[in-house]
């Protein structure tokens, strides 16, 4: 999926977006903890492109997605849609705006109401917005377009396979002809063979309907297949962002480097370099008490004591709009774990 044309107009802009959840801690709920689910995320999604968001489980991908389509209220920060600040829109205006942005969910089972027929599910957007007179034929068109039998209009979700259910979800998201579709791990729950079919469907719909996608996944190879640009998230922050190919060719952030080193890829071996897997120490820290300064420093092979745990790294720019939040970005790629470590000081002792 390539961005249409060279003129890039932003469709969505997130500015210093932050979302905290307060959670009760302990049996007697005395202490109130704060989950830093999304912390100071700024990014731009350009019209017609696919922005991939990748990161481990719990890094805040879904929260970012829900903030973007206003299913959640941000704690702070702003969201712009086509230049308009939609952070605190009135209910009425927001209702209109909902036609422009849709979301496809990860779980093809819980995302469809088991008590409604496919016709009712896909027809719901028309009923809510009263935009269509002949709902049935519109729904059947949509079903046909996403590769389902239009005659299955009166069936219930449980009569369909996971892949078919995801198609129903796509038809529903497509109904109001939105500009933006946020796909929150749309293929994670599916078999690999079915994944490819759904990805192809999304691709062909994108060019046909001029869609802009935000595509969320924890699977780096899926993200690479679909994305024009990629944002890598860690503990609620975007740690690296840039054009897909550039980022895969030369990751700058040690976290991205570690993620990429874990993906089996032919290209790396073709370079004559031995692909080594960079194993990160420890577990992802709790988002309730994220580490100081660079949140990656307790696990980072390059971390410099006295710098990384004290000073929060700003974004360093590289080729194009490639940026990474790191004091000591990766100089070249591929790089072995030892070489990566050589750039650091205190992580050596842990191995």
């Amino acid at each position: 999926m390539t961005a249409s044309g060279s003129t890039q107009t932003p469709l969505v802009e997130l500015q210093h977006l932050t979302k905290h959840f307060s959670v009760k801690q302990g049996v007697f709920a005395r202490g109130k903890g704060v989950v830093h689910a999304v912390e100071d995320v700024s990014l731009v999604v350009n019209k017609g492109e696919t922005l991939g968001i990748v990161g481990e489980s719990g890094c805040g991908k879904t929260t970012t997605a829900r903030l973007m389509v206003k299913l959640l209220e941000a704690t702070s920060g702003r969201i712009l849609f086509e230049g308009e600040d939609i952070t605190d829109l009135s209910r009425h205006r927001m209702r209109q705006l909902r036609q422009q942005m849709q979301i496809i969910f990860q779980d093809p089972y819980s995302s469809l109401n088991p008590r409604k027929t496919v016709g009712q599910i896909v027809g719901e957007p028309f009923v809510i917005h009263g935009t269509e007179k002949d709902i049935k034929s519109r729904v059947q068109e949509l079903l046909a377009r996403v590769g389902l039998n239009p005659e299955h209009y009166n069936r219930y979700p449980h009569e369909f396979s996971g892949g078919q259910r995801q198609r129903i979800g796509i038809a529903r998201a497509l109904a109001l002809q939105p500009k933006l579709i946020v796909c929150d791990e749309p293929v994670s729950a599916l078999d690999v063979s079915v994944q490819a079919q759904i990805l192809n469907l999304l691709k062909s719909l994108q060019s046909e309907f001029d869609l802009t996608y935000v595509f969320i996944s924890h699977d780096l190879s899926v993200i690479r297949q679909v994305s024009d640009r990629i944002a890598v998230m860690y503990l609620g922050r975007v740690v690296e962002m840039g054009e897909s190919e550039l980022l895969y060719e030369h990751p700058r952030h040690p976290y991205t480097a570690a993620l990429l080193s874990a993906v089996p890829r032919a290209e790396l071996d073709a370079n004559g370099q031995k692909r080594t897997r960079i194993v990160l120490q420890g577990d992802v820290p709790s988002p309730v008490s994220p580490p100081s300064a660079c949140v990656f420093h307790p696990r980072c092979p390059r971390a410099h004591a006295g710098t990384c745990d004290v000073e929060t790294p700003g974004l360093t720019s590289f080729e194009g709009d490639h940026v990474a939040a790191c004091h000591f970005p990766v100089e070249r790629w591929p790089m072995s774990e030892a070489e990566l470590r050589a750039g650091g000081t205190f992580a050596d002792t842990t191995s």
Binding site: R98, S110, S111, P125, H158, E159, S161, Q197
Partner: protein, 321 residues
């Protein structure tokens, strides 16, 4: 549209092509116990509607007619079943068969109406509490808890006694008065039944509201009302149907308990509970007074329980694939 099937995503499922209802029916009709329950309830409903008048016509004994000459012995005690009085006579020398048939109407009305109202209130309160959570939930749930914490029978006795002491009932405010009779009994039952339903519905609502299809609906711009009635309510139908069928016999028994204490429907109106109440005066001499109304009460309770269990199994969403 006559478009040819364009199923791309693999083969269309051949094995599962049934609607939710067909699936439910397939499973339900295999459940003998539930069918027996449903059949029995059908018969009971027919009895409730036509049983009383038919019994009167067949026996020639009106509901409240007293037959002291033939159906009371020299001590004024009721006589047992004969060929003309199939169930014997009650304490006032009335035909117990006719009274039992008429009693079906009262008991079923109390059971169905009280349960229906309780379920309706419980549904609304439970859905609002579960959907909006927070302070609304706290207020509604605590109110329900308070109702459940009260000694039901004691309060019922209090209310009914207070309101039955004179013909005008107890005046709440100006024209609003609670008068003794069927409506009062139903009201008392409802007061103590809705919190159970509300608690149940609240629990289901809390979990359903987190489902992604609710998010999907919201992201399409659906209003809260639409989400509550179109997304959440249909998913409550299973548990609600089941609990209603279980609540009905409970309500009938509640009415019986009130009647047993002499607080039920007015004495002339036959109800199974009322008949049982009369029976205690003659428990050592007239077994039929206890036996026949009791038998109907037990059968009814059993039938609704069987139906409820069957519905619960057949409506189980988790087994739907």
């Amino acid at each position: 549209m006559t478009a040819a099937p364009t199923t791309v995503g693999g083969v269309a499922p051949q094995t599962v092509t049934r609607s939710g209802f067909e699936l439910f029916w397939l499973r339900f009709k295999e459940d003998r116990a539930a069918l027996l329950g449903a059949g029995t309830i059908g018969v009971l409903i027919v009895i409730a509607i036509f049983g009383g008048p038919i019994a009167s016509a067949v026996t020639g004994h009106p509901n409240t007619e007293q037959y002291q000459q033939i159906m009371q012995d020299s001590f004024g005690l009721p006589k047992g079943p004969t060929s003309a009085f199939w169930f014997g006579s009650d304490g006032e020398a009335r035909d117990l068969f006719v009274r039992t048939m008429y009693g079906a109407r009262t008991s079923l009305i109390v059971g169905v109406v009280a349960s229906g109202i309780a379920v309706l209130i419980g549904l609304v309160v439970g859905m609002i509490a579960g959907f909006y959570r927070g302070i609304v939930d706290t207020i509604l749930s605590r109110t329900g808890d308070v109702m459940l914490a009260m000694p039901q029978l004691l309060i019922s006795i209090g209310i009914v006694a207070a309101c039955s002491s004179n013909k005008n009932g107890c005046v709440i405010a100006g024209p609003i008065a609670i008068q003794p009779g069927l409506a009062l009994v139903i009201a008392v039952i409802v007061i103590f039944s809705w919190p159970y339903i509300a608690r149940l519905v609240r629990g289901f609502t809390l979990s359903i509201r987190e489902k992604e299809f609710v998010e999907a609906s919201r992201s399409l711009g659906a209003s809260d009302t639409r989400i509550i009635f179109r997304e959440i309510l249909p998913n409550l139908s299973g548990p609600i149907i089941v609990y209603t069928t279980l609540l009905i016999p409970q309500s009938i028994l509640f009415e019986a308990a009130l009647s047993y204490l002499g607080l039920g429907v007015p004495p002339d109106t036959a109800s199974w509970g009322g008949l049982l109440n009369d029976a205690q005066r003659y428990y050592d001499t007239a077994w039929w007074l206890m036996f026949f109304p009791g038998l109907f009460l037990v059968i009814t309770t059993l039938a609704f329980n069987l139906l409820g269990d069957g519905l619960r199994d057949a409506l189980d969403v988790r087994a739907e694939r």
